[in-house]
């Protein structure tokens, strides 16, 4: 495969209570804050007016926020709904929410929690928010696999109707979390979509 065919259009890293866009620190919070409090503060900072956010589990909130920051100021109207896809991955699947749901089963099992006990729901939330109807895949892997992300996203852009793809890593387990999300497309930028470039951004934090 020719990895020169696709490019990184933008990136967002959220880790250690900091939000970085295209390598620059946009906003940060006290690192001792509880994850849920941090996510709420980030929502107030970067979004607001999306009440469904508060119903999401931590994984969906984190991925949704990363997409929100990444896609701010980008004109989606130039693309058909089917032309934007999602390719995400993590280590713990939905285990963080699985455990929380498990705890509710003892008394009153929560349907609202159960619907988040799948890792791909975060892709559904992002698709609903932005009206994306393109291809989605979610991989579970031990660590951020920059080779997989760069090679597969390149192939998707070359062989499917997708013109853009949100790809990356969205991981939450208890208070431990990190996300690195990339917008990639065939539109040339200074950063070709390579494993090396993805890793360099992922490792900023």
């Amino acid at each position: 495969m020719n990895s020169e065919l696709a490019y990184i259009t933008g990136s967002v890293v959220i880790a250690e209570h900091q939000v970085l866009k295209n390598g620059e620190l946009l906003w940060e919070q006290d690192r001792n804050a509880d994850l849920n409090a941090f996510l709420r503060a980030a929502y107030d900072q970067f979004s607001g007016h999306y009440p469904k956010f508060h119903k999401m589990d931590a994984l969906s909130k984190l991925g949704w926020l990363a997409a929100e920051v990444l896609l701010k100021d980008i004109d989606n109207s130039a693309f058909q709904p089917e032309e934007t896809g999602l390719l995400l991955s993590n280590r713990s699947s939905s285990l963080d929410t699985d455990v929380k749901y498990f705890e509710t089963v003892k008394e009153f099992a929560s349907p609202a929690l159960f619907v988040y006990t799948l890792p791909n729901i975060v892709m559904g939330e992002i698709s609903i928010r932005h009206g994306f109807k393109g291809e989605n895949t979610f991989f579970v892997s031990e660590r951020f696999d920059a080779e997989l992300m760069s090679a597969y996203a390149t192939q998707l852009l070359a062989t499917t109707p997708l013109k853009r793809c949100l790809c990356g890593w969205v991981e939450v387990m208890d208070q431990q979390y990190e996300t690195a999300m990339f917008l990639v497309s065939n539109e040339p930028t200074a950063q070709p979509l390579t494993a090396g470039n993805l890793n360099a951004i992922y490792q900023i934090k």
Binding site: V115, M123, S127, E135, N136, V140
Partner: protein, 397 residues
Amino acid sequence: MSEKVWIAGGGVISGIGLNLRACLQSFRDNQPGMTAMKYLSSVHHATFPVAEVKADNATLAEMAGMPEEISRTALLSMIAAREAWESSGLGDISRYRVGFVSGNTVGGMDKTEDFFAGYLKAPNGGRLRQVVHHECGSITELVADMLGIRHHIATISTACSSGANALMYGSRLIRSNQLDVVIAGGTDSLTRFTLNGFNTLMILDQEACRPFDETRVGLNLGEGAGYVVMVSDSLAAQVQPWCRLSGFANANDAYHQTASSPDGIGNYLAMKGALDRSGLQPQQIGYINLHGTGTQNNDVAEGTAISKLFAPTYPLMSSTKSFTGHTLGASGGIEAVFSALSVKEGIVYPNARFQHQMKELPFAPETEWSEGHDLQHVMSNSFGFGGNCSSLIFSKV
């Protein structure tokens, strides 16, 4: 670079049989797999019928050649993946660049539940070893190790379309010449976790489910695993392939976390995308293996999307979940094997318990087993929570 991707074999273990031939016999004999719970222990055992694999863990472990304490999800996976490999006639697996791509949603949840049960009784009483293989990825690694697969291993978790998405990814690994062979599909075991969860969503039928029937009220959960062996052009020349994977597509419904949009737009886009990719017209599809869970919401959305795409002439259709139950992450893999075999042997599977025409739809599913059809192209639908919709097309050699 391989121009085409071929299906060279398949294996299934499910509530209607411990291997593919046994499953076929159950279809022929009209023997669905839903019964009262026997192997899973749950407070709901008298309420909800399930399609369990009819064997305890000791038996499955022996079949798999793995230790009994390993998650049932891995045991099922191993049994079906090995059957798939052996059916391909490719022989020594170490001779090829082979990948294993497996979808699942519960991982080792069955063992985690056992751990919690012990843990809640006595905080030091749970056996930590049981939770080591909880993560979905561990299941895939365990089975790949047993099969001797080292070149590429991947786990996909996109709810009920996981197994179908594994085929899509596997196909691309072959097309791009990264691998010569991919064993792709999915596995999931029944757990109290999923049973409780689907119960809270109030979409479980207390009787055997009735997909595409006007009176349907919900689904039955099942368990199992199903894998196909996909090969490149050069390897296809050495074996007798069943059929080709000629098209596939995935789309997001972008409507709700769990519910399908009323017009089934995601379903429509997946089917349309798969047709476009294979270069086929709707009327060239001879049979559709429906997602057909038996919930109010799924069947009307899927049916509406089919109406929009196929009117005025409809292919034969059925939901094999009326036999196997809904096997979640395994279903796309299991139904891919059924669909590939459908092309190869001209089989149309029955849709059990269909009696009442859905008022929204102009077509009805097939209710009888039949064979000897000249099926050039067969479509398999798998739609999951999170709006994840996949459609695969298998075509005659």
